[in-house]
């Protein structure tokens, strides 16, 4: 069983260089080339009428950006948010609200077969593969495509009107 803050042993097989973090009970990884930076949680403004996994809008480097609660998205439950991970998404940066960031490591990414076919909806579009960290499952995530259009529209409106801090 992995512990928060534990040092991760490098994978033996060459794979994808990824940022590994906790999302509630899960280990997750984001390909490093999609990650911009990590930070402590920033002030976030809730948005009405958005899916439960959208925590709201925050300001990333001067740009209103959606905040996705990765734990809520993947497990349906909430857990303590320890970090925001800024990732590149199609329409702008997205802040992924996560548990503790554990580090960067090579993870073996396999095609989205097997366990990942269990995912549906938004989580399915997010999970690229399922690997392991020791005896724990590791969800390898892919480009964030789960932000609803209305959230992006609100973010764009926020940018035009000056946004909220």
């Amino acid at each position: 069983m992995g512990q928060h803050g534990q040092t991760l042993a490098p994978a033996l097989d060459a794979g994808v260089l990824a940022l590994v973090f906790r999302a509630g009970p899960l280990y997750c990884a984001l390909p490093l080339d999609e990650v911009v930076e990590t930070m402590r949680p920033l002030p976030t403004r809730p948005l009405a009428g958005t899916p439960p996994y959208v925590r709201g809008l925050t300001i990333l480097r001067g740009e209103p950006s959606p905040v996705i609660d990765v734990t809520r998205l993947l497990t349906g439950t909430t857990s303590e948010i320890d970090r925001y991970v800024a990732v590149r998404a199609g329409r702008g940066p997205v802040a992924c609200a996560t548990g503790p960031v554990l580090g960067v490591r090579l993870v073996e990414a396999t095609p989205p077969d097997g366990p990942s076919t269990l995912f549906t909806g938004a989580s399915r579009s997010l999970v690229a593969a399922v690997g392991t960290v020791g005896t724990e499952p590791l969800l390898v995530l892919r480009s964030i495509r789960t932000v609803p259009d209305e959230v992006w529209e609100l973010a764009a409106r926020d940018a035009v009107t000056g946004g909220a801090a």
Binding site: E37, M39, R40, L42, P43, T58, I59, L60, R61, G62, E63, Y84, A86, A165
Partner: protein, 176 residues
Amino acid sequence: MTDQIQSRVEQLRADFDHSFSVPARTLDDEGIELLAIGAGGRAYALRLSQTSGLYPDRPVTPLPTTVPALRGLAGFAGVVVPVYDLAALLGHPIADEPRWLVLAAGAPPLALAFHQLDHHVRVPAPDVVDGSGAGTRSCLHGMVRLPDGDRPIVDVPATRALAHRMAGHEHPEVTS
């Protein structure tokens, strides 16, 4: 940890966290550093990149010379350097003794004497209007807009070349 240090740590942490919200700043490598100076009662500017040292009240040993602009010799780190009066090189009458010496970058070594140091400024590149001097003998290349007014920019390599022409010899320029 004392309360004061704890408070300072919390402030630093808050400032760091807030920095992720502000637009990313790029390193301004477009700025130009200048010395705003006065020579012969006029305001000028020098590009700091064309200088290698600034010295007040440096003793200058006069030389018997037919070149009015040559004030004499001064020692810099064991090297004897000719000192020219910038006001004279710019065509102004030589008035009182200049207080400041600026060492020209590059070779051959040369120092320029001027009367007044106004300030050191860093300005955005668009505030500097490049331009060749009005004629081949001109030491002035371009202008800079400063809050206290526009100033012509003294081109140090061109000034060195002019001084050497006045002295009746030419040197190959080596700029740093």
